[in-house]
Amino acid sequence: MISVTNLSKAFGDFIAVDKLSFEVRAGDVVGFLGPNGAGKSTTMKMLTGFLTPSNGEIRISDMAMDKSSKAIQKQIGYLPEGAPAYGDMTVVEFLSFIADIRGLKGQHRKDRIREVIRLVQLEEVLRRPVENLSKGFKRRVGLAQAIIHDPDILILDEPTDGLDPNQKHQVRELIKNFSKDKIVIISTHILEEVTAVCNRAMIIAAGKMLFDASPADLQKKSRYYQAISLHFTQLTDISGLAELEGVEDMEVDRHNGRVTLFPEGQQDLMPAVSAYIRDRGLQVDTLYQEQGRLDDVFRQMTEEVSA
């Protein structure tokens, strides 16, 4: 378990992280969101014991970071921002080095190295120096290094940045499979990633916590949550739609004629809308309920802070 109280970090006069408090329990997969410079990486650097907090306390597995950092670091796998690695080593040398430092031995060590190579698909670059790898492969080496000792806590700073779509999928699967009774914290700028792999979303901006709940709750904050989106095959008089019971507002996109109906509160408009269409014999080519647009919510929340 990770418990953070009033965590702050100042660089000179500048406050990068401002009194964060949260707890993360086994099984949590946390998506750490926030605009550039929000303090995500700085927070992760403190969680992994690289930076010393200016204020506040970090306790992990009932140990205080300032007293037992080495014992804590044994339980953590960490992918730092930009996936730094020793350029002059080949991939297999680098992974062997990390395995040694992590205290893996004998057959287990061999098995783990083989396993991570398989998991992030590094077979084709094993004998190449890390500095000659493409950005995506470097990131994958960083991931392999982070999971080599099968840690209880995995902290990944933008793990899918620079990966191709197949690899993104692969890494998300990896995180999902990893996480049953462990802790995962990932930072990302890809909001769909949070709904895809996380069961908890935290948003920070200017070092302050803005939101901490499930990704579903985040979607509920969207104006588009459960809004009905539809498009008529022919030009149709739609004024009646706005008058329907429970519709708060209606918007029509001038360019493509798409109609969006926003519900009052959290009503389900679908039955009313489909009945309306059926009764009048209207022709629609699309009709669906929106899940909420995360980027809207994100923008709205974080712009308030920086404004």
Binding site: T48, F50, L51, K70, A85
Partner: protein
Amino acid sequence: MANVITLFRREFSSFFATPVAYVFILIFLMLSGVFSFYIGNLYERGQADLLPFFNFHPWLYLFLVPAIAMRSWSEERKSGTIELLMTLPVTILEIMLAKFLAAWAVLGLALLLTFPLWLTVNYLGSPDNGIIIAAYLGSWLMAGAFLAIGICMSALTKSQVVAFILAIVVCFVFVLSGSSIVLDAFTGWLSPLLLDTLASFSFLTHFESMAKGVIALDDVGYFVIVIGVWLYAGLLAVEQKKAE
């Protein structure tokens, strides 16, 4: 201890993964040859020893050791690997020791590879080989002191060039404070006691008898303390500056 060995292996092989170690050893061998034969007149002296060779070591190390030391921490900080390293379960002390020992081993290797000189004097005459071995050990120890300064300077900055220049300046002070130029300049200005104190901080003063094969406890102690103090200062610098 296991960590130090693992880190040492990585550091040591990284010297040979890049041309650094090869270039260093080559230049060291060339310069020590040039210095001993042309400037030190190893042949013409007509004595079977390696004194001219060892006498030049402080001046050789002054420029060459900072070149070996400059990347030790600067590179880690520049490339961000310091973040990786320091979030692994290893202490800064372990990393520091491994870095020092690895570079020191490269210096030792360079010294070992000067063995043709030793063969030469043995072929030409019959030197006291005990003295020569003692002088080799003394020289290696002094190289360690240069190295500790260089590593500390490397911990202070992300830039290898700045680390190199800082290291040369500091090493220069430590070498020069015992040279006749400085001591002569201060004679008359400073009391003999202060003058002795100044000279006693110098690598030259402590290496003088070592080069002749006399290993005295206080000279050894001096270099060991210098190594310890500078590595410790480097440790504090890393702790302070790791995040910048």
